[in-house]
Amino acid sequence: MIIKRSTLLRNTLRTAAICALGVSTLVNAQTLHRGIGGEPGTLDPNHVSGNWEDFVVGDLFMGLVTQDMNGNSIPGMAKDWTINDDGTVYTFNLRTDTGWSDGKPVTAQDFVFGIQRILNPATAAKYAYVLYPILNAEAINKGEQKDLSQLGVKALDTHTLQITLKAHTPYFLDQLTHYTAYPLPQHVVEKHGNRWVKAGNMVSNGAYQLTEWLPQTHIKARKNPNFFDTDNVAIDNVTYYPTEDRAAALKRFRAGELDMNYEFPVDQFSWLKKNMAAETRVSPQLGTYYYPLNMRNPKLQDVRVRKALSMAINREIITEKVLKTGEIPAYSFVPPGLGNYKAQTLSFKGLPYGTAIKQAQALMEQAGYSKDNPLALQLRYNTHDAHKKIAVAVAAMWKKIYVKTELTNAEVAVHYNELKVSNFEVARAGWLADYPDAQNFLSLLEPTPNNYGGYNNAQFNQLMNKAAVTLDPVTRAGYMQQAERIAMDEFATIPIYYYVNLNLVSDKVKGWQPNLMDSHRTRWMSLAD
């Protein structure tokens, strides 16, 4: 079976044409002032780990596959590609009309170099594991395989790249949009070593190139003239601001100093809705806020207790009265909105809260708890205003079902350390998708490092393993739906709400589209006068 992704290409051309129309009306150099919500720790695609860094790095670099303004995967540095019959060998034909910002062509070897570098244990890249589906990637990263040439990424010629996977991975093309799979300019990295990321040294292949980085102040970038689509890129210069203080960023936005900002102070949401409704953008995101339950704890091994705890949480109150920023109550672990996947909801969804509480009380009584003999539970959260408010609300709701909750908080580094060593009973956690696929969420309930609660169900694991090797997307989604069904029926974890994207976007900014992945590449935008 050979799959040609020509429809994707057509989409690109269409969006490019739309952008071109926008451009023709503009003459003067355009500068976009963009608040990114935090100071990047690094601009080296091999070390990036946060979305505030991705806003910059994703403008500077481009992988084989990239995202359009709606967050959909479209061809990037690859013109097109073929996939072999068992879905393990991808052959990419690279563009020949695009180059690094210093004029050198982008070659297949640059991809081989970039992917070898991130997997090299000496690089110590945090996110290297995203590429583990590639043949021998895991062994190389663990130091078991010293010979980098054994990696399943090969340059067949200057503009043909072949990637061999260890097994069929349905979400692999989406993963290629991620910064872990960006090419790196081998000639520059070898010349400057780790200092290649400094402005003046850095060379990039995306729509923009880095011109200046003043820590804690701004990062400046200008158009890369060698980028294949550069004629259709409307914004000439971008200045990114590390707007850590959301309230201060809002003031700068109101004063016209920022054209857009990632997030806004949530406590001012009602004011914003009243006074700046058009510029306050709230849209669903691919992420779940949940409470993992520690399955190693005897108290929580009782499914009746887990069910009661989940049922007693009034999610609507939490989103509408506690958070008040447009979050969506969650009744499934995988958020809705994924292409061919139907999220599996908790059995009590739709039950009036009064009834739910009565049933939850009955369950707790069956499990041997009562007003005089309450269940003592510890609820951990990382220090943050919203987490605290939610925890307090949940503790009040649990009180009705004979639970005495002890709230414990710690700063974020400590919190996740405790989760890691499983030193908790119930805790706060959140997950934002790395790539738009249900597997990214469900893997948190498989025996993986991020499975804080230690949920372990043989049938669930079996279904996930089957899904991992299934080529047909519909059958695969079916297996994953069955797996989520099991986890939901066992109340393996307590989903509370789905995250939303919060953005401030000025009316002047055109070409900004809300999307699940919150992907907003500057290349698609323009500024109206």
Binding site: T42, K126, N141, H218, Y241, K251, A255, A413, E418, L419
Partner: protein
């Protein structure tokens, strides 16, 4: 620092153990603590504070040297304003003790001390940046003077208040001293009594406050820097500790310690100049 739970690589996501091992090895953190410590000391001798764990593209030295000149400039202006207006208001109030003028200055000063920076700074940006639009609401803009006015003002206000209170207190005390009566008895004009005799002694406690205060103000303020978006070094003191950025914490602490020593030395020298009794002979 190392005893604080959590580490520089703990985050929202748990890393696979092999990746964590790679990271620890890359930062020499897989060695015993005493070896890491000696390595660090050896680096310090040649002015190398090591790489930052959080801001990977910069060394600690680079971060301090990119931020310090900015914090230094703002802090120095703020201290200058603090000294001039603080001493001025303090003297004014002391010489008119228990008059409406005194009460006005002192109650304003009390308010200046009581209102914390994180309240004052947003008020300033809201009034001058958003409502009146006279000055930028934030940002550094490569050091344009317009961008410096509000942060300097926000930094200077509490200093004006502190110094004014301190000057008033010690001025009142000095004005009642024997040598002032003697000076007056000799028929020296009141102006000269105040400027030549009283002020010099009254300033001693103010000067001893100025040493550590200057070191504190010129190393920036995390609140002011975040609210105005200024690239100083104040934020590193707080953020580095929260991020468990061991090298950056050590770097800023060593640097701050050095400044405190330097300013206390300056204070001692100024003492000698102001008060002959303190001089070493």
């Amino acid at each position: 620092m190392r005893m604080a739970p959590g580490g520089p690589f703990d985050g929202e996501r748990k890393l696979p153990p092999e990746i964590e091992a790679n990271l620890l090895a890359a930062y020499n953190m897989d060695q015993p603590l005493y070896l890491q410590y000696f390595d660090y000391l050896a680096g310090l001798l040649v002015g190398d504070f090591g790489p930052s764990f959080k801001y990977k593209d910069f060394t600690v030295t680079e971060l301090i040297w990119s931020g310090f000149p900015i914090s230094f400039e703002l802090g120095m202006w703020a201290m200058l304003i603090g000294i001039i207006f603080g001493i001025g208001f303090g003297c004014y109030a002391a010489l008119r003790q228990n008059t409406p003028g005194d009460y006005l200055v002192m109650s304003t000063a009390m308010a200046g001390i009581a209102i914390p920076n994180f309240v004052m700074a947003p008020i300033l940006t809201l009034v001058f940046g958003v409502m009146l639009g006279w000055l930028p609401a934030g940002g550094w803009n490569d050091g344009a003077w317009q961008n410096k006015v509000l942060p300097i003002l926000a930094l200077a206000l509490p200093q004006v208040a502190y110094i004014a209170r301190m000057t008033r207190g010690s001025m009142i005390e000095v004005m009642g001293a024997q040598f002032i009566r003697t000076a007056r008895a000799k028929g020296i004009s009141e102006r000269k009594v105040v400027t030549r005799h009283a002020l010099k002694s009254a300033l001693l406690p103010v000067i001893s406050y100025l040493g550590p205060a200057t070191a504190g103000v010129i190393t920036g303020s995390v609140v002011i820097e975040q609210i105005f978006g200024i690239p100083g070094i104040g934020r590193y003191f707080v953020q580095a500790a929260l991020n468990r950025d061991y090298t950056l914490v050590m770097g800023t602490v060593v640097f701050y310690g050095g400044l405190i020593i330097l300013f206390n030395l300056l204070v001692d020298l100024i003492y000698g100049w102001l008060d002959p009794q303190i001089r070493y002979e």
